[in-house]
């Protein structure tokens, strides 16, 4: 029985009438775990804390304060509506009400009087439908992940075959990938002229491992010659870029795969130079695909900083200087800027670019990528992570004897930990706290306003702020310090969404 109850799906009932909540609860409690909220704000607070755990919401429409439509609007805004199905249970059967509810994403409608069989069936069907959908999304994600993982593995194996024949350690490919990634990430911050998505960067990164596959066709006595090349040998060596490209072009299948196309560009043109003095085609400027431009710079940097039979390794600083001065050919000025921008992290990343960390990093990239691809699944996972974080926070805050708060602007809700709520004489969830008398007794309106202004002056990069003012906590009025972190949206024009923080006593230095 206890095992069974753990597995029960959770249903949230939001209805202002206790009778109605009890009736529904009674009809459903054998098969489900029931959570109840007597009004909109408390329903939203429960959703905010545990939306990924809730399988279904039964929502009343006519409620005092915040009505069901407003609850739906917030659920839409936070994209909870995509993961949590809502069934409307209002006594309201006016068509315009029902229509509006459907428009706001309600999945079904149960009219009164409640029939226990109908309620049970509808709830169960909806939950099963959503569960199936979630399972399907999970399967698709899994398959994509497997596919990406296998592709990446094959690319790695292939490029290492080339490397080992070349007498190199295999680190060259890793270095190229590391530098390529850093340069591309820096590049998209500077310009969008190349229209590079995160998926493209990933693709170029993977394809960069193949830049030298043409070397497989170079005779090993040339390839591994322990001295400088003769003109004739250099000419043979230079054919590797065109050979690599032809190998890809001659693939009987998969010509349309983006990876193959990008790899083709990189193989063929990673020895071109921006001023047109490279090989094999003598392309100039932006005629050279950006993928090849970036890999070409990465290749040069790694060649300079690596030891060869015929030369010692140059230092990071020297290599940078040589590239900037054009000693290794001319590069895109924008990429030269990127190289300088990532110079510091380059040293760090190259140090840590061992085989293992690279694999881990690739996995992480793939995982990130899947989350971007799959917006739907993404929101789901994010919620899950958030939930885990919240669970941790709840634990920490439960053992901390401090006033901890969270405030969201829209809807205007103040959430307090249980302990804090008790000390302030407020409930854990307060709607419109800025108009709440108890809140205003704890803190002067003027201070609230100043704190608000202070928080609005923070930025997404530096969201912290602290503020000292008189507050009344547990009946005691004294100066205390607010330590806050503003929550800004991730849009281009960040929007102030709220704040989390704590109120602490000021410890005097002479104490």
């Amino acid at each position: 029985m206890s095992d069974k109850s753990k597995l029960k799906e959770k249903i949230l009932i939001v209805d202002d009438s206790e009778m109605n909540r009890m009736i529904l609860s009674d009809m459903l409690e054998d098969d489900f775990e029931i959570l109840e909220a007597p009004d909109g704000p408390q329903g939203l607070a429960i959703l905010q804390q545990m939306s990924s755990e809730i399988s279904l919401v039964l929502l009343d429409i006519v409620m005092p304060g915040m009505d069901g439509f407003e609850v739906l609007a917030v659920m839409n805004k936070n994209q909870w509506i995509e993961d949590v199905p809502v069934i409307m249970i209002s006594a309201e059967s006016t068509p315009s009400y029902v229509r509006r509810a459907y428009e706001l994403g309600v999945i079904d409608y149960i009219s009164r009087p409640f029939d226990s069989l109908v309620v049970q069936r509808r709830v169960l069907n909806t939950i099963m439908l959503y569960a199936k959908q979630k399972k399907l999304m999970g399967l698709v994600t899994e398959q994509m992940y497997e596919k990406e993982k296998n592709t990446s593995l094959m690319v790695t194996i292939l490029s290492h075959i080339v490397e080992f024949r070349n007498g190199e350690s295999g680190l060259h490919v890793l270095h190229i990938q590391t530098i390529t990634e850093l340069l591309l990430k820096s590049l998209i911050k500077k310009t969008d002229q190349y229209h590079l998505s995160h998926a493209d960067i990933n693709m170029i990164n993977m394809a960069s491992a193949l830049h030298d596959i043409g070397k497989i066709a170079i005779p090993s006595e040339v390839l591994n010659k322990p001295g400088r090349f003769t003109d004739e040998e250099y000419k043979i060596m230079k054919t590797h870029s065109m050979i690599g490209a032809s190998m890809l072009e001659d693939l009987p299948f998969h010509q349309d795969e983006p990876l193959v196309k990008v790899a083709y560009e990189i193989c063929r043109w990673h020895h071109e130079r921006y001023d047109g003095r490279g090989y094999p085609d003598g392309l100039k400027g932006e005629e050279i695909p950006i993928s090849a431009q970036v890999v070409s710079m990465a290749d040069v940097y790694d060649a300079l900083t690596s030891e060869r039979v015929y030369k010692k390794a140059f230092s990071h600083e020297t290599a940078l200087q040589m590239i900037q001065e054009g000693q290794c050919g001319t590069f895109n000025p924008l990429l030269l800027e990127c190289l300088m921008d990532v110079a510091d992290s380059l040293v760090e990343e190259m140090k840590s670019a061992s085989l293992n960390t690279k694999n881990e990093k690739e996995m992480r990239n793939i995982a990130e990528e899947i989350m971007r691809y799959e917006e739907m699944e993404g929101s789901n996972r994010t919620l899950l992570y958030l939930d885990q974080e919240r669970a941790k926070n709840r634990f920490y805050s439960s053992i901390s004897k401090e006033i901890l708060f969270e405030y969201t602007v829209s809807p205007s809700i103040l959430t307090l930990t249980e302990w804090s709520a008790e000390k302030l004489g407020l409930s854990e969830v307060t709607l419109d706290p800025l108009k709440n008398e108890t809140v205003l007794e704890s803190m002067a309106q003027e201070d609230i306003q100043k704190l608000g202004e202070l928080l609005h002056r923070t930025t997404p990069e530096e969201p912290e702020a602290s503020y000292v003012c008189k507050t009344k906590i547990d009946g005691e009025v004294k100066e205390r310090r607010f330590i806050c972190r503003a929550d800004w949206s991730e849009e281009e024009e960040p929007v102030f969404r709220g704040v989390i923080g704590k109120v602490e006593d000021i410890v005097h230095e002479d104490f």
């Binding site: 009438s17 009778m19 005092p64 209002s90 009087p113 409640f114 226990s116």
Partner: protein, 120 residues
């Protein structure tokens, strides 16, 4: 007194509520809970205070609850009042509340009687 007799006394929809609740036990449980339901009190208070927006919600809740429990008389009068408060609150006259109270008292008394007979 049986649950059925209680419903007959107030002209309630016993068959309907029996099939929806699947048995007397659940009907009885919620009928007793109805004795503590605050929506009628809330309706009285909000109407006296002439707060028609809140009165509408209270009437709406009372309507929903009585509908769920098959209290036909109370359901019908509270529905009339709900629609009146929604569309023409200015037409409200105190005798409307009296009519609701009449049905409420009747229902309340019948449930009390049922409760007394089960305790006996």
């Amino acid at each position: 007194m049986t649950v059925k007799e209680c419903y007959e006394k107030i002209n309630g929809d016993y068959e309907g509520v029996f099939s929806r609740f699947r048995g007397d036990a659940r009907i009885q449980k919620f009928a007793f809970k109805f004795l503590n339901d605050g929506s009628f009190d809330s309706l009285t208070k909000t109407l006296e205070a002439r707060d028609y927006a809140e009165a509408f919600r209270a009437a709406h809740t009372l309507k929903g609850v009585s509908q769920n429990l098959g209290f036909t008389g109370l359901y019908q009068i509270s529905e009339t009042v709900t629609e009146m408060l929604r569309n023409h609150p200015e037409d409200y006259t105190p005798d409307m509340l009296d009519k609701v109270r009449e049905e409420y008292d009747k229902t309340y008394a019948a449930i009390k009687e049922l409760q007394a007979s089960t305790e006996a």
